[in-house]
Amino acid sequence: MSVVLRQLAVLVLALVAGWVALAPLRGRVWSPLYHLAAFPVGVLGLAFGPLATTALGRGHGLVPELVGLASFAAVTAAALAVSLRGAPRTAGRWLGEYVGWGGVFVVAAVLVLFAGVTGASNDSHMWYGPYGLLLADTARFTAAMIAARGHVLPAVHAAFASFGIEWPYSFYPMTAIAMLGALGAGMWRLLPVASARLRASIVAGTLGALCVSPVTLFMSVYVHSHIPSAGYLVLSVVALGIAAASAEDADACRPIAGLAAAGLVLVRPDGLAYAAVPASLMLVDWLRRRGELREVLAFFGPLLAVSWIAFGVPLVRFGLWHVPGKLGGATALAMLLGITLAPLAVVALSTFRRGPLAALAARPVAALGLVGAVAVTALALAKPVDLARTVSLMGSNLFVTGAQGWLWIFIAGAAAVTLLLGTWRDAGAWTRDLLLVVVEFLVVALLVHAATHVGRTGFGDSFNRVSFHVVPLAFWYLASVFGASASRLGRAGERGADESVRQAA
C-alpha cells in the first residue's frame, strides 16, 4: 500500500471512529456540527489503544490499537445513547450526508497528502517523532512521555507508525481543516447578522483573513500540539455556543463540547489548565441561566471520564511520577481534582439565595474575574519577578519579537476599537462570551507560563506559540462585533441585527 493510502487509512479510521462515537447525537444536533466533530473525537480515541496496553501491561501492535479505538467509540456511543434516551430525533438522509461529508474529507486528505508540506522544530523531530515510533514499538505510555507531550500526539504518531508512516505530516493540515470547518460553522450559526449574504461574506472573509497569516499557515503544517489544541478549543466553544443559542441542539452539543475539552486536556501537558477555558464558559452560561444539573453532567461527564482514564492509568502504573521541568504526577492529580471539584463548587454556589455568595452566583462573569484576579495576585506575591518578566515577554513576542507580523497588532487594535467605542456590548451575549473566552485564555496562559517557565523572546517561545490557540476565537469575536455594527448601519440591517442578536441572546 502506498504512503498516501496508508496515511489516508489512518485518517479515515479516525473519522469513522468519531462518527460511531457520536452516532447517538445524529439527528439530535445540527448536522454539520456532528460531522465536523467526528474527526477530532476519533483522534481522541487513538490514545485509548496505548492506554489499554499500558494499563494491562500486555498487548502490542496494530490489533490492540484498533481494539482500543473501537472500544472508545463503542463506549462513548453507548454512554451518549443512555444519556440521551428518549430525546427527540429528526429524520434525515443519513447515507447521503455521510457520503457527502466523507467525500469532502477524503478529497481534502488526498490534496494534503499529495502536497506533502510539513513543518518541524526540535520538538517535532526530537519528541513527537521518536515518541510516536517508540510508542508504536513498545505499546506503552511512560510517565515521561505523558509528562512531556501528553497522550494524543504520541498516540497519533504511533497509529501512523503502525501503518508504516514515520512522519504523519497529513494529520496536522487535516486538523487545521477540521478546525476551520468548525469555526466557519459556528460563525455561520451564531454571528449576529440576519442577512445571509452579509453573514456568508463575513464568514468567508474571516476564514480568509485567518488563513492569510504566515503563522496560521505554518501552524497548519507544524508537527506540534498547536493546531490540535486550537482545533479542540474551537470545537468546544462552538458546541457550547450552539448549545447556548439553540435549546433543541443543546443536549447533544454539550457532550461534544465536553469531549473536545477532553481533547484539549490530552493534547498537551498544560492542557489541563487550558481546559478551564471551555469549562468556565460552560459554568458561566449555566449559572447565568440557572440551568438544570443534567446540563453540567452532559459537559463534565465526557470531560472527566476521558481525563480520569487518561491520567488514571499512568497514575496507577507509575505513581506520582516526577519528570524534571515537566508535568508531575502530583500536579496532574491536583489539576484533575480541580476540574472535578469546580462544577461541584459552582452547583453549590447556585444554591445560595442571599449573602455575598448569592451575589457572586448572580454575577458569574464577575465571579470568574474574581477567581482570575485572586490567582494572578497570588502568583504576583509568590513569583513577582517571573510574573513581570512573563508579561514583558508576552507583550514583546506578540507585537515585536515573536515573528507574528501584524497578527496580534490587528487583534489587539481591533479589540481596542470595539472596547473603546462600546460596540462589544451591542453584539449580543455570545459575542461578549467570546471576549470572555479570549481574555480568560490569555490569563490562564499568563499563569501557566509565569508559574512554570517564563520563556524567551522569539517565535519558539512557548507562550508565543500557544497564543495561536486562541487566535481563531479572537477573529470570531472581531467578526461578530463587525457584523453587528455593519448590520446596524442600514435600516433593514438594523432590524435584522437586533433580531439576530435577540435570537443569540
Partner: protein
Amino acid sequence: MSPVDDSRPARTSRLRAALTVIGIAALLVAYVADSAHALQGEWWREIYKPFRSDGTMESVARGIGKRRVQSLRLGVAIRSLDGVREVVAPRDLDALTNVANELWKGRTTLALNPDVLESFAKGTWRQWAYDPHADADALARIKQGATVERWPGNIYVVHSPSAEDGRWILYTDSINRYIYIVPMRSAEEAGLR
C-alpha cells in the same frame, strides 16, 4: 442574557457602529497587506522553513538540514539497542539512565568522536546541542574550565568547577555524534557509578 440596549440614541449608535466597521476594516487591511508581503518573501526565516515530506524520517532529515540528521536519528538508534524497551528522548533522564546502563554493561560499543569533543572544547557546542535554549545554562557552565575524564563504556565525565557538584556526565549515542549531558548528581542517583 441581555438584549440590545435600545435606549442609546440611534444616531450615536450608528456613529459608533460606523467607526467600529471603519476601524476594524482599516486594521484588517494593514494586517492582510503585511501578511501578503511576508508570504511573498522568506517569512520562514523567523519561524521554521516548511518543507516537503514523503512520510519518512529521512525526508524530514533532508527537510530540516543535514546538521540535525544525527539528532533526528536518536529515537531510531535507541530503539535498536537490545533490551531497551523504554521510551527514550532527550532530557528524559530516567530513560537516558537505562541507555547509559546498557552502555555501562558493555552491551553496545560506543565511541566518542574526537571531532565532537574538539568542537565542544572550542565552544562550538551549539551545533551539537539538541536544545540550545534549555541547556544553555548547563553548557555555559561546562565551557568554563571543564576537564574531561573517560570512564569505561565510553562515558565521559566533564569536571566543571562551576557546576553544582563540580561534575557533569557526558556521553553519546551509537551514531557517535550526539551528546547527552546530565548533572553528575543525577547520574549517581541513577546508579551510573
